[in-house]
Amino acid sequence: MALLSKKDANLILDPLADNNPITIQVLGICSALAITAELKASVVMAISVLFVMGVGNVVISLMRNVIPSKIRIIVQLIVVATLVIVVDQVLKAFAYELSKTLSVFVGLIITNCIIMGRFEAFALGNGIWRSFLDGIGNALGYGVILIIVGFFRELLGSGTLFGIPVLGDPITKTGLYSIGYENNGFMIIPPAALIVVGIIIWVQRSRNRALIEEA
């Protein structure tokens, strides 16, 4: 017996490809632009969102029958806010430097459209297990893009990956730098993330033409 039924598996696999929250639904762009200059920050952000979405979707799903629909947005906000504070405190305690890099963007997970979107669209109407899978799936879809963007931006912009120099040392001119290569300062600034995300969208849609919206 498979671990997940086909329907359940799609909850995780869909957001990774043809229903990706960033490249298809174009949600959660702000954080994708802001924190992807370094791979490490991207990974931590991805894990934070994974935690918040997984747990948040379960909590909302548990409460879905007792939340009065008029105040549901406020209830959702409180749930996310609580989880985000937990993430923020954990980061401050165990990875202080990194929490400074991510600065306000951890707090801004609260307003990440993907999370509110999944609460509204999925967790309010589905059971705990399926909500959990949906949360994990969407967070992974978001994380994958973050990590791809972070990989290219850090590699081309700083010549490092996770802070480890991989192309040589720009100051003592070793590796690629000895033949005149230079880091691309453009990749460090946020507009570059927009362009990298744009290229991912372009590649994805030219591979699967069904995704192209009608103009």
Partner: protein
């Protein structure tokens, strides 16, 4: 021989008609020879028989003097930086020399070749993949790019920048005629933000300066050479007159350091007149951009004259710079004549052109003065206005519609002429 080649290409073109590689052969054919089938001037709807190729070639003709001057100037700046500037400067003795030209040619031509090679290769690639014809739009872009960058830009950087500019600036929007941003300026902006050390400072404008400073750092015994642009000199907070360094004639005729093709305001002016005369470029944009920059320059001069700006202010140097001299230095004149007038990315309506051009001049001078990090604001101003051009056009068209609606509503419909009034008319006549 030439005819044979043409015939052979023609046969190839026929052979590949309708196949995947057809656009590539078509493009090569029309690029090298006059196309067999062009628009004829017979139809009543055909206003001009200039095809895109003719338009582009005219712009290139206007650019060639700048390119040649840039080659001479590259050599002149290099040798002057090493041997000192000549005391009694004479154009024929010190400027138009074989040495200057040779050095300029070997440093500038690779940039031109790279710019065309990479750009056209990408155009061909996209034409084949997407199955459309190769347009001549890149012919001008490819010529503009080497003229607006410093002479010592490393070639590999140019390769990346051109690839980026052509793909992201043009092809993703659908190729020639569909782009929002001017591709040549996109390429320059990419270079500027990606490799700022190669695009500003006092080392990059003179050929060999960077190389020498590297050699010195490595312990070689050579003299350092450098050459600042006029704007860089002012932005660095030098308040004593620029006249000590370069006189007005130097600035006007272009014997100053700067990007390859932008230094000679004189030749740019001639090119501009040529483009206006041939009706390729819009005189409205050029005139309004000049006015815009003069207005902004006057405002700054006024601020200095009324002593709003103290002398220790970091803006003082550039603010007290005579307003009309802004047009002589940096890329402002070049940008106004060749870049702002790009028919694709600029405004289309006549009233829109005035607004668009004015704001380009206005914002260029503003960026120059207020942001010492960007001593050259022209490319940013033009890119910004490229983005706004459709909006300007939209409101101009809306305004026109509203005005005409109003006129139609307020119009008095003339009463039908009765026999009586007809008689009256006859009487009065």
């Amino acid at each position: 021989m030439a005819l044979q080649l043409k015939r052979r290409l023609h046969i190839l073109r026929e052979k590949y008609r309708g196949k995947k590689m057809a656009p590539a052969f078509n493009a090569l054919h029309t690029f090298l020879y006059t196309p067999n089938d062009t628009t004829h001037g017979r139809g009543t709807h055909v206003k001009a028989v200039d095809d895109l190729k003719r338009t582009m070639n005219t712009v290139i003709m206007a650019l060639v003097p700048c390119l040649l001057f840039g080659m001479f100037n590259t050599g002149y700046q290099h040798y002057s930086a090493i041997n000192g500037f000549p005391e009694n400067f004479s154009v024929f003795e010190h400027f138009l020399t074989w040495d200057n030209f040779w050095l300029g040619a070997v440093t500038v031509l690779p940039l031109v070749i790279i710019s065309y090679g990479v750009g056209l290769a990408i155009e061909f690639l996209f034409a084949v993949i997407k199955g459309h014809e190769v347009e001549e739009g890149y012919l001008v872009t490819g010529m503009l790019v080497p003229l607006i960058i410093p002479v010592d830009t490393p070639l590999w950087m140019l390769v990346i920048a051109v690839a980026f500019g052509v793909v992201i600036g043009k092809e993703v929007f659908g190729g020639t005629g569909m782009n929002i941003l001017n591709p040549a300026l996109t390429i320059r902006a990419f270079l500027f933000f990606a490799y700022p050390t190669w695009m500003s400072g006092d080392k990059v404008w003179v050929h060999g300066a960077v190389e020498r400073s590297n050699e010195i750092a490595a312990g070689a015994n050579v003299d350092a050479i450098s050459g600042e642009t006029v704007l860089g000199y002012l932005a660095a907070g030098n308040t004593e007159g620029i006249a000590a360094k370069y006189d007005l004639a130097d600035m006007f005729f272009g014997f100053i350091p700067g990007s390859i093709g932008e230094t000679s305001t004189f030749l740019i002016l001639l090119g501009g007149l040529f483009l206006i005369f041939t009706k390729i470029a819009s005189w409205r944009i050029m005139v309004s951009a000049v006015i815009g920059s003069l207005v902004m320059g006057l405002i700054f001069n006024g601020a200095v004259a009324w002593e709003w700006i103290p002398e220790y202010s970091k803006f003082y140097g550039l603010m007290s710079f005579e307003f009309w001299q802004h047009l002589l230095v940096g890329g402002l004149a070049f940008g106004i004549v060749y870049m702002a007038t790009d028919p694709v990315t600029g405004s289309q309506t006549n009233r829109g052109k005035w607004i668009y051009g004015f704001l380009i001049g206005f914002i260029s001078v503003m960026i120059r003065v207020f942001n010492p990090g960007y001593p050259e604001g022209v490319f940013l101003a033009i890119l910004l206005m490229n983005v706004f051009a459709p909006t300007i056009d939209h409101y101009v068209v809306r305004g026109n519609v509203r005005r005409r609606m109003k006129r139609a509503q307020n119009a008095t419909i003339h009463p039908k002429l009765t026999e009586e009034s007809e008689a009256l008319k006859v009487e009065t006549v």
